[in-house]
Subunit: 385 residues, 2 copies
């Protein structure tokens, strides 16, 4: 896989990036997908109109890319400052938010200036929230540096931090003015993080696009290798999420479909103490997707063949697919159900799930009996022990 | 003034409150003005649809009114919780914001529930901001308990906290769903706070409504005494501010008119270290209004008679009107100019001011020479020494 990569890069270096519009009225913006976008960031960001741009990143990503980005911006006459926080989920805190806000003010970022979030989901959520509240809102640009961030958190405008009461409980809806998804940045991403992001790519096929799922089955190697398939996977994922978000910006209805696999996933993350050494979000999603399909199958909604294909594909790329795959164990059915109840509103013993009638045929199922979930989880645990 | 008050209260107790609509599209809401509204808060808030309401207040106001409000809400079947912070500007901090957000989450406030801000400007700004960010936004209701909060901070949707870099630099535009301005709550307000709020009432007349200024000159005693004139003053002020805000919700243009007197006022507050023992905001505004008119006069824009009437009326109600009235002194002209420069963008030695061609004829003046401001301030200081 090493030989073709350089020529591919050369071939696409001068190519126009793929443009994915996110149509949200006066909050509309574009996602650009392509290799090498970070080096074109200066003129693209300057075109939005600003005197200064503050780059918010984590220390790991900043060491890799902040200088290149800063140089590109300065070359267009935009003044820059860089604010780097500690990497990891712990930076989604009140304290780090205060640190970033004060850093933006110290950098004399005005209402007409810009915040540039350079990093993965944590940086995007944190920097986006800081941008939403500093001077009651300045514009921001996302340059997501992980596959997960490119296909998930860069679309939708959800920003925020964690509270001791739970994840993402404090934040704002703040749409970016531009997203630059530079797929070449993923070349240096650890394989495990690449796989984790890929689980969310597959999810878009499973929600409502069976052709995209088939495409994934055929082309996943190119996505991982960094060929034009990677750009296509990122662009199709963004387009899919944008379509859902455009229908339901404030998450009152349809947007819940994006939670396919996530009720199980959040419970698994809680059970493993959000410890990335045991389970990262995308791995939890991979298991969650498989559980959602097998649960749908058990309820007589979905053919077993489809549930098998989902698990088969995710296993092929190296993702976990079963509760038994959780290092250290996922806990009992009761414990998992309790963890779900904390996440979702449980009304009179019933939960809301995203279930599926087949690949690409997911739907919102309200009033799912907690007892049915428990029985399913018990079976899963039994079958795998 | 004691005898007529009870009968007035009886007369208006059963009366319908005055309704001031704030037309902001899908963010439109009503301000209700009248005596005794706090005891009708339950059904009015419950009508917005919610299972729970969290009352955010400061310990002083909570001790006076939280139980009455809570009882009124509970009588309609709304679950309540009360979160009380320390009184005073220091509560507009990152730390207190975190405390209020976590308090709302601990009280299990959901997206469909409500936050009720019960207090003055500090509580309104803090609670409104917490409501804007908890679960990425829950609705909130304002019950302002000072005249200043009733006529100023309850209209416009500006919420926020202070940063070490300056006041109100971190926050959100978050419109309330309802404002209940209970003018009977002002009966217990200290006279000094009543006067301070009154300076903002007068400001609305000075901006663009000379008839309202005349009305103030005639009826201010009733405003202070708590008669129907108080309701009228609050309602007219809210209507005036609502009209400006409706034209310019995000403060990009016309809304700057509301800053009449405030460039001087902010400089005075900065010079007195934001120490309320020396100067409270409304007192600074009173001096600022007089300075804005005298400066306009000095620039040949405004008749001296109008500047005299402004200062005359504010002095009549007991408000300060001159730099010399600042306890401990207001500092030199240069020091004041420096303090202004921190507040406003100074472009090439020029400032933006709100000036006036007469009472009710204010306008945005860009490019006011710093030298002209300095010379004016030097004259003021000289004339008063």
């Amino acid at each position: 896989m090493t030989a073709p990569t350089p020529s591919r890069r050369l071939a696409s270096a001068g190519a126009e990036p793929v443009r994915v519009p996110v149509p949200l009225g006066e909050r509309s913006y574009d996602i650009l997908v392509g290799r090498g976008l970070i080096d074109e960031a200066g003129p693209r960001i300057a075109a939005l109109g600003c005197r200064a741009a503050a780059i918010v990143s984590d220390t790991t990503v900043a060491a890799l890319y902040a200088k290149r980005l800063s140089a590109s911006l300065q070359a267009t006459g935009v003044r820059t400052a860089t604010i780097a926080v500690a990497p990891g989920e712990l930076s989604k805190s009140y304290e780090t938010l205060a640190q970033v806000c004060d850093g933006l003010l110290a950098a004399r970022i005005e209402r007409s200036d810009l915040v540039v979030a350079l990093g993965g989901g944590v940086v995007g959520d944190l920097a986006g929230f800081a941008a939403a509240v500093v001077r009651r809102g300045v514009r921001f640009v996302q340059i997501p540096t992980t596959l997960l961030a490119q296909v998930d958190s860069s679309v939708g405008g959800k920003t925020g931090i964690n509270s001791p009461h739970g994840k993402n409980l404090v934040g704002a809806f703040h749409q970016p003015s531009l997203v630059l998804a530079d797929t070449a940045l993923l070349d240096s991403l650890p394989l495990r993080e690449m796989r984790a992001g890929y689980a969310e790519v597959v999810k878009y096929g499973l929600i409502d696009d069976p052709h995209f799922f088939e495409w994934c089955e055929r082309h996943w190697r190119g996505v991982f290798a960094g060929g034009p398939e990677r750009d296509e996977a990122v662009a199709r994922s963004c387009r899919a999420k944008a379509a859902v978000v455009a229908r339901d910006e404030r998450e009152d209805g349809d947007r819940a479909l994006l939670n396919l696999g996530h009720t199980f996933a959040h419970a698994l993350e809680r059970m493993t103490g959000y410890d990335p050494r045991r389970l990262v979000h995308g791995e939890a999603v991979a298991i969650g997707l498989c559980l959602a399909f097998r649960f749908s199958m058990r309820l007589g909604l979905c053919p077993g063949q489809d549930a098998g294909r989902v698990a088969g594909h995710l296993a092929t790329v190296g993702l976990p697919t079963r509760l038994a795959d959780v290092p250290g164990g996922a806990g009992s059915a009761d414990a998992l159900l309790d963890a779900m109840a904390q996440d979702k509103k449980v009304k009179d013993g019933a939960l809301t799930f995203i279930l599926a009638r087949g690949i690409g045929q997911s739907f919102i199922a309200r009033g799912v009996e907690a007892d049915a979930v428990r029985a399913f989880l018990e079976e899963e645990i039994l079958a795998q022990s």
